[in-house]
Symmetry: C2
Subunit: 219 residues, 2 copies
């Protein structure tokens, strides 16, 4: 399948899993940076290939075949990220950019070799789960955005859900990395700000960031 097809299917899958899920063509179009006319067009073509269900004005739904394709691409994407992150000294943003392209030109054989080399990792460097070769995610996600964390508790960063360069640069600079421990000292509910300490440094984050940083309670 073409890169355009794969990105489209992937966008639907990601939209359904994370975000509030408006899976109509217009919203998918926004994520892909194309017109909604193009997205409607593509939706019809993919429906003809049995990758999704399309009915005028309704939400798009991946078929089982479509979901499998999405998982296969996401697997390759996250394996590339994990691989490039480990092998070379590349930033979270850079590995994402490379993976966005490489994911479409990677054989299952190569993906499996990478997975094996890495010891079949369960998570990529952003903390997102890596589907196995059968397209399954076996881990269960109990994390929640930092905006919902309680003051006084410590947490482990479990995911950084963005592809913005500045966000990652900020995170890197302040040691906000996958797996690191943080302590929330205050939640300013009205101002939607969160005060926390990382490695003995206190920082104040606004909602733009605290909804992108996911954490798990340290049981």
């Amino acid at each position: 399948m073409s890169t355009a097809t794969e990105n489209f299917v992937k966008a639907i899958y990601n939209n359904n899993s994370h975000d509030a899920h408006n899976t109509k063509p217009g919203n998918i179009a926004k994520k892909l940076g194309i017109s909604s006319a193009a997205a409607t067009d593509m939706a019809k073509k993919l429906a003809a290939k049995d990758l999704l269900n399309y009915q005028k004005y309704q939400e798009l739904q991946l078929t089982e075949k479509g979901r499998k394709m999405a998982m296969n691409i996401i697997r390759k994407h996250r394996l590339w990220e994990a691989f490039l992150f480990k092998m070379f000294d590349m930033s979270l943003h850079d590995i994402h950019k490379e993976a966005e392209l490489l994911e479409h030109q990677t054989s299952d054989l190569l993906a499996n070799k990478m997975s094996e080399y890495l010891g079949h990792p369960k998570f990529d460097p952003h903390g997102d789960p890596i589907p196995n070769a059968h397209g399954e995610i076996t881990t269960t996600d109990t994390s929640f955005p930092l905006s919902q964390a309680a003051a006084g508790n410590t947490y482990i960063i479990s995911r950084l859900t963005s592809d913005d360069k500045e966000f990652f640069e900020f995170c890197a600079q302040h040691k906000l990395k996958y797996g690191h421990e943080i302590k929330v000292s205050k939640q300013f509910k009205n101002n939607k700000m969160t005060e926390l300490s990382v490695h003995n440094n206190t920082i104040l984050l606004n909602e733009d960031f605290t909804t992108l940083i996911y954490v798990n309670s340290t049981k």
Copy 2:
């Protein structure tokens, strides 16, 4: 530039360097598996982009800009081959197939990281030279096809110039690998066959193979 453009430019370059050089659209078309009409079409488009010189019925010639592009892609191709060959246990044919796709989706940054990781290798696993980041090949090639080797002498395999799976399987099976030493025992000029020994095994090769295997004299 698109994958189609890059493959076209690369095909012209490769045609001019190795083979007897008929660089007219029809011959390039054959190598790429497209119609000559498509190749003529593409040639005109690339001429408009100053990647090559096109005149009706004449041979295609890369401009300096075109040559630079070809070298950049070939560099990425061969770095991928070297990298995949080293990292994973993949055959010469498999690494070529993967490289053929990955070469078009690789940033200069990533290519440089790979080169650095590998210690800036001068040759890929087929024995082909890897251009540096400036698009230059600094090594000089003194090798010649095995078909032209003299009986009684020993040689070092310097290149395996094919992308055929069966050819590589045969080579792998008989230890005909880049860098290995062989001894030519007889040249059957009339039958265009070459008898040689590799690792104490004697084999007889026909011209189909002896023109693909390049060697250097052991001074």
